[in-house]
Symmetry: C2
Subunit: 336 residues, 2 copies
């Protein structure tokens, strides 16, 4: 597979030691077109039958352990995401195999240097570039920056790693620093980092060889305006739908109960609604609901806001709506 | 609720006898806009918290027992579908509550009489009109028809009932008859009935007060042409994706293994792919697959054929493709 290094050897050894008949393979969207190649490779080395999971898989929260166990899978190979360390036990064993991007990062990191603010730089990335952080650190140090790589909270597997639902790396160890350098693509992680840390964030995207800083500031302002609007528009909502995710790593039942209590205390009505796969059409039938509060993946309210016909807000945004928190203390929702 | 009669009393009594803290409620799409009303009604009579399931629910095959059990639900109320009698045990108890349509059927049945062929008429319907079959029978008998109501195989709950995946009512008891009168809306059930029984099917739709007969014949021809095309277009396929459903009532593992063997015997390659929620986009990543064979809900290949970029065929259609069955013996796939 071009651009990725995947080491299946340890998991192949484990499988061959046990006599496993059926394995399930969860592959993230970006790698799904290699499914057949990956299965061919595995079958050359193991005797198990392999079932590839087609349902989209957005992270390590998204393990279909129960369903796959029910159709006979004895083990899940979960590709491309790192384990969430304090998560509960799975119905069947799960082996996480990282997919390391082999794309070169030197050029884009060198290009990013002139955008960095101050001298103490926190370096952050996602699972697929985690093995490149030492190289980034060296480049920064060669240019007289003080590069910091530190670990987020107990859910996070690697030093320097950020998840789409967990930006704790930006506040870890109470370290003081001037700026974050994010190695990776997309805007959601940088957005979470800038909102959580209140520091400048420089994005170095090795796929497009582009560096962004002002764009992230602008996007932050745009998203904050949108979130402010979503909260303001829902001020007079009478009936709230509290959304609870059914995916293994997204079931925040305690939070559902807190929200329910909060709504009752504020003379609001509620309906608790569970969802496995979040689709705008699945909520369209709930015509009595004025506003949805999502306790599932924190990204849904932010990323997919415009796809839903009625406002979806996060639990933190509900606190602002009910005057339990001031707008100035706005934060991205996280699973911590 | 207008147009529907739902008797929650027996299930309310059961719930009040046990001390159930959390109930999950699965509601079919057509009734979802009554969710809040239904929950309000239930909460007046029971002390349990209620979680409504937002994920689309297409039948009694579609019980989210495992996932709902994991978020604390102790019982599922499954509305609008009848139990599938020989299905496996659920992870938590499931109470099926039927939603009986209160729409009048006299007019449309009277209108349908002139379309009926012969004198021995088999009357068939779906769960929501099942309580009207005696009335239909009487109207037919008053007009000197011999009206037959009989029960399908052991999966079927009621006499005269047809499911979207089970047309066994049309062949039950080896009865001889001249024509089927289907009370209900939509075209899928009539299509399955006409293909399975090889008898004329008259559709009496009480919602639109329309009767159809020739249209069903035409649709049958059109669908058969489409299916013939799907099979012909996939003749040279080298790699087949065998789709296995993860929904409780759609896991046909034995069939998956039979298909796998059949493909191997014919020097074809295969990839087993599991899916919970069937979405065309979830299959788009599988670029190496030439043709998908679905063992999940039999309706997917037929109803949603045009939504998928690559052909999806049924297990029976694969037999035709591999010359194990002749086209003249074409049948709709069923879960029997």
């Amino acid at each position: 597979m071009p651009n990725y290094k995947i080491d299946f050897k340890p998991v192949i050894e484990k499988i061959n030691k046990k006599n496993i008949k059926i394995i399930a393979l969860q592959i993230p969207e970006g790698l799904k077109h290699y499914s057949y190649t990956i299965v061919e490779h595995l079958k050359k080395n193991i005797n198990s039958e392999i079932i590839v999971v087609a349902d989209p898989c957005f992270g390590a929260c998204d393990i279909a352990d129960n369903e796959l166990g029910k159709i006979g899978a004895e083990l899940i190979i979960h590709l491309g995401h790192t384990p969430i360390l304090n998560s509960k036990k799975y119905a069947i064993p799960v082996e996480f195999v990282n997919a390391f991007s082999s794309i070169d990062i030197k050029k884009v990191i060198n290009n990013s240097l002139k955008y960095l603010k101050g001298k103490k730089i926190k370096i952050v990335t996602t699972a697929q570039h985690i093995h490149k952080l030492d190289e980034v650190k060296k480049i920064l140090e060669n240019h007289n920056f003080n590069a910091i790589i530190s670990k987020g909270n107990e859910r996070i597997a690697f030093e320097g790693q950020v998840l789409g639902c967990n930006f704790s790396v930006s506040l870890s160890n109470n370290e003081d620093y001037d700026c974050i350098l994010f190695l990776g693509s997309g805007t959601f992680h940088p957005l979470g980092l800038i909102l959580n840390s209140k520091k400048p964030v420089v994005v170095a995207d090795p796929y497009t060889n582009t560096v962004k800083k002002d764009e992230i500031e602008d996007l932050k302002d745009q998203i904050l305006r949108q979130r402010y609007g979503a909260i303001a528009n829902s001020k007079n909502s009478k009936i709230f739908g509290i959304l609870v995710g059914l995916k293994t790593g997204q079931q925040r039942i305690k939070l559902v109960n807190e929200i329910k209590k909060l709504l009752i205390d504020h003379q609001k009505k509620y309906l608790i609604i569970s969802m496995n796969y979040f689709l705008p059409t699945s909520l369209e039938g709930f015509r009595d609901i004025d506003c949805f509060v999502s306790t599932a993946c924190p990204r849904i309210a932010i990323d997919d806001y415009l796809k839903y016909k009625k406002p979806i807000i996060t639990p933190i945004e509900l606190e602002i709506l009910l005057d339990k928190r001031v707008w100035e203390d706005y934060e991205f929702d996280q699973i911590l």
